[in-house]
Structure formats: structure tokens, C-alpha cells
């Protein structure tokens, strides 16, 4: 089993930044962990500014309650995010 299994288990409920071996960055709150995947729920991303047409809704990750799985075997790095990051 991946060494990240126990790391993720220990940090359920915490915001993390995971980089996978393909270079992708996943930021989210750990909601669940099974033998193969860690499941994240989105956290608000950085505001990249700009001026719009009037339509805007605050980002809450990929919609509240939406989570996605990251294969434990694909994790290259995992860092805990401090609260001010999200």
C-alpha cells in the first residue's frame, strides 16, 4: 500500500496540496481515503482578478460538495496548506 495512505488518513479534514507524477496540482480538503485513492473536496482557488461583464459567483472549489479522487500511487508530493491559503 502507498506510503501516502497513512499520511492521508491522518489528515482527513485538512486542506492539502498534492502534486501527482504527471505534474498536476490538486488542492482540496481530504474527505475520505481508501486503499487506492484519496478523495478531495474543492477549496476556493486564488482570485486572478480582471474586470467582467457583471456576472460573477464566488468559487468554492468545483462546486460545494463536489469531490474527486486522486490515485495514491500517482502522488509525488503532498503538503498541508495553512488556513490562510484557503
Amino acid at each position: 500500500m502507498s506510503r501516502y495512505h497513512s499520511v492521508c488518513k491522518r489528515h482527513v479534514g485538512r486542506a492539502v496540496k498534492i502534486t501527482t507524477v504527471d505534474g498536476r496540482v490538486h488542492r482540496g480538503i481530504i474527505r475520505n481515503v481508501n486503499n487506492t485513492h484519496v478523495f478531495l473536496e474543492g477549496v476556493p482557488a486564488r482570485n486572478l482578478g480582471g474586470y467582467g461583464y457583471g456576472y460573477y459567483r464566488r468559487p468554492y472549489g468545483y462546486r460545494p460538495g463536489f469531490g474527486w479522487g486522486v490515485a495514491l500511487g500517482s502522488i509525488a508530493t503532498l503538503a498541508l496548506l495553512p488556513f490562510f491559503w484557503w
Binding site: 488542492r27 482578478g49 474586470y51 456576472y55 459567483r57 468545483y62 474527486w68
Partner: protein
């Protein structure tokens, strides 16, 4: 003007789509936001994806293939190029990359208040979110608004982090005044007529005047622009329109010159100053 061939990115997205919604969000991020990385500094594709979604980018759904196909068939990219090239000559605006994507047709506010259109402008790039039913006039109105921002942001030449609430009011008000000049009052955004001039003055004194120097990163800036539980919807946008219109009524400045005035000059010459 550099209209980026985002139709090829969209075709790649439709070809790589999977069965599950969650997978498709990742496909969308890979095909649409990864190629945008060179246009931003120090961000990842996830941040770009989230930001565009919050400004009206389509959310993967079963109808998106059909919408993309129709947008390509109607060649909305070519229509956009024509409009923006004309405006660039008229206003002396810069050549910037333009990215066109479908908007979120499942969002009721976007559909009813903005006719399914949204946009996002920076001094060096512009995003247009439209639908397969966007008419040429509707596209022209959106581009006029957004490209007005691009031109002004270049002319005032102040980093976005340093721009404040007054700058945002003037930017938005001016962009819709440009729409009125180019297309007539029928094509104005709903928020321009949401509140009367009298109400705008009351709201100005209560919420806006004390906060004019607030930077964009302050949450109250966002609440004043878009509304909150206590602040009326799109208040900042509406007051911005009243402000710039009142300046224009007494000064009759051309849009070319107006774009080049400071926010303070416009405020001082308006009924609100």
C-alpha cells in the same frame, strides 16, 4: 487582432470527453486551461479553471458538444475579430489575445440577466463567454464592453492591484456607455437601469463614497460591485454607469478621450463629485 483558435481546444475537449462529470472537469481543465498557462504568471491550471468558471465558463454537460459545434459552424470567432478590429482603430486600443468559450447555459442568472454572455478582461488579454444562440449584436455589445476595459486598463497603466473601487466604478460605467454609443440603449446590460439616478445618489453616500479607496482584494469591494445580503445587487456597476453618464452629459467627451481621463477627473466632473 489576435483571436486565439480556441475552437481547436474545444474540439479537443469534445473528443476527449468521458462519461463522468468529474472526469470531464479534468478534461476541460487539461484542454482549456493548460494552454492558457503562458498567458498568466505564477498560477496553475486549476486556479485558471476555477477563475474562469466563476466568471461564466461553461460547466461540462451533455449539451456542450452540440453548442460548440454550432458556435464553430456560425464562426463566432470571425465575427468577434471584425468587431474588435474596428474598436481597436476607433479607440486606439492594443492588440491582445482574445479567447472565446461557451458560457454556462445552465446558470439562470447568466441566462436571464446577461443573455447567456459573460466576459473577463485584463490589460493584456480578454475572455468572452457566449452561447450558440448569441446574435451578432449581442456579441458586439459584449466585445464593446470588454474591449473598452482592455483599452482603458492600458491607458491608465496602473497595476490592477493598485486600482480601487472608484476605478472599478468608472471602468464598468464607461464600458456600458461605450455599448450605448456603439449599439444604442437597447443593448445595455440590465444593471444599467436597475436603479434610478436618485437611488444611485443615496447609495453613493451610504455605501460607496466612504469606500472609494478600497482595493480589489478587499471583500467589501466585491460586495459593493455585485451586492450582498444588505447591499443591492450590482450596485457598484449601476452607480458606475450613472456616474460616467452624468460626466458625459455635461462634457460631451469622445470615447477616445474619455478612456484616457483619470477616474478622479471623471468623478470631479460628474454629479457625484
Amino acid at each position: 487582432m489576435t483571436i486565439v483558435d480556441t475552437h481547436n481546444w474545444l474540439i479537443a475537449y469534445t473528443k476527449n470527453k468521458k462519461d463522468k462529470f468529474k472526469d470531464n472537469l479534468h478534461v476541460q481543465c487539461d484542454e482549456i486551461c493548460e494552454p492558457l498557462l503562458p498567458y498568466f504568471n505564477d498560477v496553475n491550471a486549476y486556479d485558471i479553471h476555477q477563475h474562469l468558471l466563476s466568471h461564466g465558463l461553461f460547466i461540462p454537460d451533455p449539451l456542450d458538444k452540440q453548442i460548440i459545434k454550432k458556435m464553430i459552424k456560425d464562426n463566432q470567432w470571425k465575427s468577434a475579430n471584425k468587431v474588435i478590429t474596428q474598436l481597436s482603430k476607433l479607440w486606439g486600443g492594443p492588440d491582445v489575445p482574445v479567447f472565446i468559450f461557451p458560457s454556462d447555459h445552465t446558470n439562470k442568472t447568466l441566462r436571464t440577466e446577461f443573455k447567456g454572455r459573460s466576459g473577463l478582461s485584463y490589460h493584456d488579454k480578454v475572455f468572452l463567454f457566449i452561447t450558440d444562440t448569441t446574435t451578432k449584436k449581442e456579441l458586439q455589445a459584449l466585445i464593446t464592453h470588454e474591449y473598452n476595459h482592455v483599452t482603458r486598463l492600458n491607458e491608465v497603466n496602473i497595476q490592477e492591484e493598485k486600482l480601487n473601487l472608484l476605478d472599478a466604478l468608472v471602468l464598468e460605467g464607461m464600458a456600458e456607455l461605450a455599448v450605448k454609443n456603439e449599439l444604442g440603449p437597447d443593448h445595455l446590460s440590465n444593471w444599467t437601469s436597475m436603479y434610478s439616478n436618485e437611488f444611485a445618489h443615496k447609495a453613493w453616500n451610504k455605501w460607496i463614497k466612504p469606500n472609494l479607496a478600497l482595493k480589489k482584494t478587499n471583500l467589501i469591494h466585491e460586495k459593493i460591485m455585485y451586492g450582498s445580503k444588505v447591499i443591492p445587487k450590482w450596485l457598484g456597476y449601476n452607480v458606475g454607469y450613472h456616474l460616467v453618464s452624468s460626466y458625459n452629459q455635461t462634457h460631451q467627451t469622445s470615447m477616445y478621450d474619455l478612456i484616457r481621463l483619470s477616474s478622479q477627473e471623471i468623478l470631479d466632473g460628474s454629479e457625484f463629485g
